[in-house]
Symmetry: C2
Subunit: 306 residues, 2 copies
């Protein structure tokens, strides 16, 4: 392989390892970390994210990408080399507009906010979380403002979840959906009889629910030698590599759908991530193409197969 591509790979590996390490710290924060650990964890994650950002937007990285762009322009669009240069270039171009200190501030606010959120959620006390949320929204707006000019402040945020999608396009999609959904919702709400949903509220022990959820996940194809399930306040899927993709769930002994459909949903995300080509590992190519595609996988397994 071209030595320039090798150099790009090694720089990308470094950034990717730092981000994956931050992901492990985030997983731990949401699953096992004792409450006392919150403050140091915010420091640790902020340092990792600051370094990852510095390394991504470094002058050397920019120069290397500039050199590689014409070189890979003739290669097939889906070759490893062309894809790596294209995707890393997009990341570089986006993140170079953002000051590293803002990345660090956002990381710190997210870590600190998470600790507050967990306690506020447990006590159903929104006011307690409000200041942290306000701070996060303000920082996110500052982040979006790095990408001016735009039609809507949401545009640059949307572009990250769904590359190329525009708010105007999204509005059209929702307008079309509203035409059908709003009357349907009204029709349901206006019906006199209530639906008997007692079947959903039968009692099953947490252990039985856990075992059953994992049995279905396994039957879907989730590889537990390359993944695992733990508990968290809100379910999520997180990958540290193609071969370590973890899910979480939460349990209510009197409401089976919570754990079960949570597990199936996250399994959908995890199957997408466990299915990435290992050749793409340690690079941003081993990643879902977009949030929409990710959600299409989780919803398909949860709602159609499940």
């Amino acid at each position: 392989m071209d030595p320039k591509i090798e150099e790009l790979k090694s720089r990308v590996h470094e950034v990717h390892d730092l981000r994956s390490a931050a992901a492990v710290l985030s997983w731990d924060q949401e699953t096992y970390m004792p409450p006392g650990g919150a403050s140091a964890r915010a420091d640790q994650m902020t340092t990792l994210r600051r370094l990852a950002h510095q390394k991504l937007v470094s002058e050397e990285m920019g120069q290397l990408l500039e050199e590689l762009k014409p070189q890979t322009a003739q290669m097939p669009d889906d070759s490893f080399e062309a894809s790596l240069v294209r995707v890393v270039w997009d990341m570089f171009e986006r993140e170079v507009k953002v000051p590293t200190e803002l990345v660090a501030e956002m990381s710190r606010a997210a870590s600190e906010g998470h600790a507050v959120w967990v306690e506020a959620r447990r006590e159903n006390d929104f006011e307690r979380f409000r200041p942290a949320l306000e701070k996060l929204v303000a920082l996110t707006i500052r982040y979006a403002e790095c990408f001016k000019p735009y039609d809507s402040v949401y545009e640059p945020l949307l572009d990250q979840s769904e590359p190329g999608m525009k708010t105007s396009e999204l509005r059209k999609i929702f307008e079309a959906l509203k035409v059908e959904i709003v009357p349907l919702r009204k029709a349901i709400a206006s019906r006199a009889e209530t639906v008997d949903d007692r079947v959903l509220h039968r009692h099953y022990s947490e252990d039985q629910q856990w075992a059953f959820g994992l049995e279905v996940a396994r039957a879907f194809g989730y590889d537990l030698r390359r993944g695992r399930q733990d508990r968290s306040a809100h379910p999520f899927t997180i990958g540290f590599s193609v071969d370590d993709v973890r899910i979480t769930t939460r349990l209510d002994p009197d409401f089976l759908p919570m754990a079960l459909f949570g597990t199936l949903h996250e399994t959908g995300h995890a199957l997408y991530m466990q299915g990435h080509d290992p050749v793409l590992g340690r690079t941003p190519l081993a990643n879902g193409a977009s949030s929409g595609l990710h959600e299409s996988q989780s919803r398909m397994w949860e709602n159609l197969v499940g």
Copy 2:
């Protein structure tokens, strides 16, 4: 505070955060990581340790320490400033002799070796672990050789566990112990009757053992809002900050001493670490003074109090 000390602190924080993050990854590797995660984990830990080493032995760090040494020389030896400069200088002076690539190779060999060790241990198959161990020994010798000249290759390694201790001194300690211990051991071995140790082999469920061990740990003063216990192949204590110090244990339903004394031993280490002054946090000052002092704490709680 002096701006130079502030700059030193911020550089030390960065190195410390990278090392703490590597510690979280190591904890995860020994407790919850699925087997598939081993290879990427070796990459991630190696990147963190390589960066921590680069940042510690950087020219800027060296220059800053040179400038601060005379400045803090007049301060009381146990002031924060003088201690920080002294301890970081010692780390710098030691690690600057070691090529970063050797640090990276050692980290990779340790991570990869751990995965092999876990499986070899489960199957009681030393030959399987031998190549990994030979590699680790060879790398450790290369590491020690960075500190030539020395009387014994063990000297620089000993100095890291027990700063200032010499192999010649250690030999004298063991010689004196041998005089008493060797005849004692022989006398016991030559006695005709065997000791009745059935009391140690009573059956207790793993849950009961777990709960009892933690009850004693709590009674010793282990703060579980700033710590937790998990299972691992071999017990250990690890700290990510003064407020997040974790222990592990292992269980045998037919041999209570394994879990119980394991927990009490690790609790001794953890109490030492939870007891560090928070002011020293995020620096190498929040660390045990030596392995000997650490072991004195774990042994005191396990063997004397326990």
